[in-house]
């Protein structure tokens, strides 16, 4: 039996918007085990962003239990959750969110700056290793505005990897990229998956489901399907088949 990274049970989240009670999540339950590559899909309004916020420890559920790597998040204080995010989760965002005018390596070092147990030389070492893992070993000193979208997203992925998290949370990580570059990023995610990383990839693009090992579909705040995909399609093949733009 593989280690249970995430366990959510009967997760509910309500917002009060303009005096009205909006139920974003209406009882979501699932477990995610170590080494899974899970895509979470849903149209807008399905509650996937809310779920992502909760899984990412940015938000807490109104009711229900969320256990990440053996620790319950629901009762955690704001500061404790910040620490938890720093040690357990790597975020990848749609718009990369790199610091402007800052080199790749400094961007990648950022999470470690908030971890006082890592010293400067370790920090640099880890950042270089993470950038090498995303094949940007030759662009350490490039500034974020000197890189293409694909490269920027790779830096962002390196940043997510640098603190060696138990979970990588990607939010529409290919949403801002053209098809070919999107597949190159997917290739990267598949490589990480192959190395045993646990990845949650939130997207509204149904095509991506084929490349993950498991697909959870949300609708109206509930899980409507949860299917395992024992043989994910190879993003590499797809990437190679796409014409190189001139």
């Amino acid at each position: 039996m593989k280690r249970e990274i995430i366990k959510v049970s009967d997760l509910r989240r309500e917002f009060i918007v303009g005096g009205e009670r909006v139920k974003a999540l209406r009882g979501v339950s699932f477990s995610i085990y170590e080494g899974e590559f899970v895509t979470i899909m849903g149209t807008s309004g399905s509650g996937k962003s809310t779920l992502l916020n909760i899984l990412g420890c940015l938000d807490t559920p109104t009711s229900g239990e969320y256990v990440l790597d053996g620790t319950s998040v629901r009762e955690m204080s704001k500061n404790a959750r910040a620490m938890f995010r720093n040690r357990k989760i790597g975020f990848v965002f749609q718009n990369y969110n790199l610091l402007p005018k800052t080199t790749a390596i400094e961007n990648v070092e950022l999470p470690l700056l908030y971890n006082s147990s890592v010293n400067a030389s370790e920090r640099r070492e880890k950042a270089i290793a993470a950038l090498k893992a995303v094949e940007l070993g030759d662009r350490l000193m490039h500034k974020s505005n000197q890189m293409s979208g694909g490269q920027q997203q790779r830096v962002a992925i390196a940043r997510a990897l640098v603190n060696d998290p138990v979970l990588i949370l990607a939010d529409e990580a290919t949403g801002n990229l053209d098809t070919r570059t999107s597949y190159s990023i997917l290739v990267l995610f598949q490589q990480l998956y192959a190395r045993g990383r646990t990845i949650i990839f939130v997207t509204h693009n149904p095509d991506l489901a084929a490349y993950s090992s498991r697909n959870i579909v949300l609708r109206d705040g509930k899980v409507v399907s949860d299917t395992l995909n024992p043989n994910p399609a190879s993003a590499k093949e797809m990437y190679d088949s796409l014409p190189v733009p001139d």
Binding site: L58, D59, R85, L99, E106, Y114, S116
Partner: protein, 406 residues
């Protein structure tokens, strides 16, 4: 999160916005520089007034014979002969706040040296006179107590007298000049002092032992006035009280009787001058303080805009593990760096400006350590104070909203 990392982050963020950072600093720079320059000018003029007064002898006390009625007729104080050598001796031995004391008996007349002659004043004094009037001997030496006892015919010449009697650059030392047919040996010359604030030439003097003037020139047994110096400027009052008491006892004045002497000091003048320049300093400091305040508001303004502009960055930092207080510390440190760096540059600029004012306008300036420290403290406090609100705002952002902020 340790301070070194926070510093690194804050410096990096400032480095990314050099121009804006510099413009923000400019407010502080100008504020601090003006505080320092204004206070330097204020203190400089105060010092210069003070030194002008102390050149005259700020602790100097003058004793003249006082008005006295003789059978209902008021006498001119010049005719009074109430001050005597015994008074001088009594004051010398019975006072503790008086530092130096010298009698003064003057006469005017023509000095002759060969073909040259020149009208000047002869001052009969004691060696202490040099101390009291802040006069220094340039060449030769002052006469001694021995010269006083023997009423020696020796003299020291001021520069104006030397120039007029010894035209061609001869050294006057050892020469004999005549005053009213009495030969005097020149034993020294005085350092030039220039004109005093009334425009009198202070170098147009000849100093001789007071006994010489009393016995050989004027043939009098009283002294015209006494010059004293108090131990320090603030002891002038006590010295005056002491002198009054000694003189009254010596003159056998009864309790109800008026003094038969008058005592004047430079203190009133010096106090008035000081209060004027103090007021000016306060005024200048107020103006400068206001510019420092405006500089501080500039910091707040920029930090506030910066928080809004960097909402996404803040969101990102929070999502990768920055706590509210890390964000607070980062923005606060940024504000403090801006203000302290501005403070340092302001100190440099202020010193430079003070120096230029001195160089170009020839105003006396004196940079005050306290003004440097004060403006430094003020600008750090300004940084914290005006950086706090925007930093708090940044720290309270919701990471979920901040990260998706457009």
């Amino acid at each position: 999160m340790n301070i070194a990392n926070l510093m690194k982050i804050a410096l990096k963020a400032l480095n990314n916005n050099k121009m804006r950072c510099f413009l923000t600093m400019l407010g502080i720079i100008i504020g601090v520089a003006s505080v320092i320059t204004m206070l330097a000018i204020g203190q400089g003029s105060k010092d210069s007034i003070k030194s002008q007064i102390s050149e005259m002898g700020s602790n100097m006390i003058m004793i003249h014979p006082g008005n006295m009625q003789r059978g209902g007729v008021r006498q001119s104080s010049d005719d009074m002969q109430t001050l005597r050598v015994e008074d001088y001796e009594a004051l010398q031995s019975q006072t503790s706040y008086v530092d130096a004391i010298s009698p003064s008996v003057n006469s005017a007349g023509q000095f002759i040296n060969g073909n040259n002659n020149y009208p000047s004043s002869i001052y009969g004094v004691a060696p202490d006179y040099l101390d009291i009037r802040k006069v220094k001997v340039q060449d030769g030496e002052m006469f001694t107590e021995q010269d006083i006892r023997s009423a020696a015919k020796v003299c020291l010449l001021g520069k104006t007298v030397v120039d007029n009697l010894f035209g061609d650059g001869d050294s006057p030392i050892g020469k004999v000049i005549r005053f009213n047919k009495i030969p005097f040996t020149v034993i020294g010359t005085l350092e030039p002092k220039g004109s005093n604030s009334m425009g009198q030439d202070q170098d147009d003097v000849v100093l001789v032992p007071y006994t010489t003037v009393m016995k050989r020139i004027l043939a009098i047994d009283y002294i015209q006035s006494l010059f004293c110096s108090a131990l320090s400027e603030d002891m002038t009052d006590r010295a005056i009280d002491e002198i009054t008491e000694v003189l009254r006892t010596n003159h056998k004045l009864k309790d109800g009787e008026d003094d038969d002497f008058t005592i004047r000091s430079q203190q009133e003048l010096s106090e008035m001058m000081n209060s004027t320049s103090d007021m000016m300093t306060v005024l200048l400091a107020c103006i400068a303080g206001i510019s420092l305040l405006v500089g501080g508001i500039g910091i707040m303004n920029i930090m506030y805009v910066s928080v809004t502009e960097r909402t996404r960055e803040i969101g990102l930092r929070m999502s990768i593990g920055a706590r509210g207080r890390d964000i607070l510390a980062q923005f606060l440190i940024e504000a403090i760096i801006i203000s302290v760096t501005g403070g340092v540059l302001g100190v440099i600029l202020g010193s430079l400006a003070s120096w230029l004012v001195n160089l170009i306008a020839h105003w006396p300036v004196s940079i005050q350590i306290y003004s440097v420290i004060l403006s430094f403290v003020v600008c750090t406090v300004t940084g914290v104070f005006f950086g706090w609100y925007p930093a708090k705002k940044a720290a309270n952002l919701d990471p979920i909203e901040a990260i998706r902020y457009e």
